[in-house]
């Protein structure tokens, strides 16, 4: 599955998000801006839920390129300790079980699983109990 955009996550068996570190201040942002001030840096695979909502209606197309048949999906902000708070989908969780502070791990999921050539987008799912 090809990524929705180049440079968003690493090309590893268990991919990681790629952020950008400000060469001067050390501040980390996501995604990595395409300029010399920031250098790409792989981000932590695990984090905690900072906030979330459920997207209950189909976003307008364009720009939304998800499936025509709409199912509500959670949009979260996930705190990666010491790095930054990133926006991403939440997957593999019942809406009623979502709770701020829950432990999460990074995964990639298809934007439209039924597409002929689906693209992968960043997401997080509940961390497996150690």
């Amino acid at each position: 599955m090809r990524p929705i955009a180049q440079g968003l996550f690493t090309d590893e068996a268990s991919p990681r998000l790629v952020g950008g570190r400000d060469r001067d201040s050390g501040r980390i942002v996501f995604p990595c801006p395409a300029n010399d001030r920031f250098e790409p840096v792989p981000l932590s695979r695990s984090g905690t839920l900072w906030s979330y909502t459920i997207q209950r209606f189909r976003p307008k197309s364009p720009p939304y390129a998800g499936p025509e048949a709409f199912s509500p999906f959670p949009v979260a902000y996930v705190e990666l300790p010491g790095e930054t708070i990133v926006e991403a989908r939440l997957v593999d969780v019942d809406f009623a079980d979502i709770a701020i502070g829950m432990a999460l791990e990074f995964v990639t999921v298809p934007l439209d699983p039924d597409a002929a050539d689906p693209v992968a987008i960043p997401a997080f799912r509940p961390a497996e109990a150690a």
């Binding site: 209606f57 976003p59 998800g66 987008i121």
Partner: protein, 381 residues
């Protein structure tokens, strides 16, 4: 030097007006404001006009009269109206002019605002993945705020309930039917925790304010409403704004914090001096957060404030006395000026069924918008 004064106000009812363009609604508001001030269009030396999506404001001169006057168009997102007012008062403060106009109007299509990634310096994938949705951001922001500050969903519902109840009493409001708290809470969800009654809608409308120097107001024999402060500010580091793929762990303040702090300082007042406030309420939680961001209460106190009715028209600090954006809808160019219009009505004691009791002397207005802009005014009679 005297204060800049508001000597005339006009409004075209908000909502949906078939057959009237945004410009038409702006012209209507200007004529109302001129009548209110007892002035002719030819008396107006300059104008600042705000519109986001309904054409160039300076085309209004076709209908109002080709007097050769100076007319500057303002586009500044949700702060457009506030920016027009700020600019207009500067022209009078400078001594360059003594009678001018701040006008704003808009006419948006139905449904959520259309936003494209490139307009916000964002990559295309961000829109493809379904994140160019303003309601998502607002919902995420309040979900965090509720968690940290102990605000219940019922409090959000109370804000909407108040808005529709106040809107019923405001002739210029769009939604003028009260809605019961249970119905608000149980309505279909748009973006959790917000149901459909907790978001405002893009709308139409126009507002015009005639400004004058204090000397000019005296000459005209008009009891002036004084513009004690008008500020427009942008965001500091660590704020949480719409369309953010990432935000800093180290949280900072907001554009509102800065605009509010500076406005109070310029006016020589504090939150306790304010008798009525119009706070940006594009969604119910915005009013809740903005109560604290503007310094009227501490984070978390809103739970008790709403439960006790302290922001009702008869409460300690009436907030959004005309129903705010929730009841009036949001025509971007006009929305911030509507708040000032409503404050002038309240300070004149002309609010009728929605009049704040006790002869209010000082009134506060606040707008906030993408990508982290805020405008505040403080009026005094």
């Amino acid at each position: 030097m005297g204060d800049v004064c508001i000597i005339g106000i006009g409004i075209h009812p908000f909502g949906r007006t078939e057959g009237a363009s945004g410009v038409d609604q702006g012209v209507f508001a200007v004529r109302e404001a001129l009548r209110d001030a007892g002035l002719e269009w030819s008396d107006v030396q300059f104008a600042y006009g705000a519109s986001e999506a309904a054409g160039n404001p300076d085309t209004m001169v076709d209908q109002l009269g080709l007097t050769g006057m100076q007319f500057i168009n303002v586009r500044n997102g949700c702060a457009a109206g506030g920016s027009a007012l700020f600019s207009a008062q500067m022209a009078i403060k400078s001594g360059e002019c003594d009678v001018g106009l701040a006008v704003g109007f808009d006419k948006h299509p139905r449904g959520a605002f259309d936003a494209k990634p490139a307009e916000y310096n964002l990559p295309e994938w961000y829109g493809d993945a379904g994140y160019m949705v303003t309601t998502q951001f607002f919902a995420n922001k309040i979900m965090r705020y509720m968690h940290v500050n102990g605000i219940s969903r019922e409090t959000l519902g109370r804000v909407s309930e108040k808005a529709f109840r106040n809107g019923e009493k405001a002739p210029h409001a769009w939604r003028r039917q009260p809605v019961a708290l249970d119905e608000i809470l149980d309505a279909p969800m748009v973006s959790d925790p917000y149901s459909k009654y907790m978001f405002c809608s893009p709308a139409e409308g126009g507002v015009a304010l005639i400004l004058a120097s204090e000397k000019k107001a005296r000459e005209l024999g008009i009891a002036p409403i004084r513009l004690k402060a008008a500020t427009m500010r942008t965001r500091p580091p660590g704020s949480f704004e719409v369309f953010a793929p990432s935000i800093d762990i180290e949280r900072g303040g907001s554009a509102t914090n800065i605009a509010s702090r500076d406005a109070f300082e310029i006016a020589g007042m504090g939150p306790k001096d304010i008798a009525v406030a119009q706070l940006q309420d594009t969604e119910a939680g915005a009013e809740v957060m903005h109560m604290a961001e503007n310094g009227f209460c501490a984070d978390g106190d809103q739970e008790q404030w709403l439960a006790e009715g302290r922001t009702e028209i008869g409460g300690a600090l009436p907030v959004n006395t005309d129903g705010g954006c929730l009841a009036c809808g949001e025509p971007i160019g006009a929305s911030g000026l509507r708040q000032v219009y409503e404050n002038v009505v309240q300070l004149r004691g002309a609010g009728g069924a929605r009049q704040v009791p006790g002869n209010p002397r000082a009134a506060y207005s606040h707008v906030y918008g993408a990508p982290g802009v805020s405008a505040v005014t403080i009026l005094e009679r």
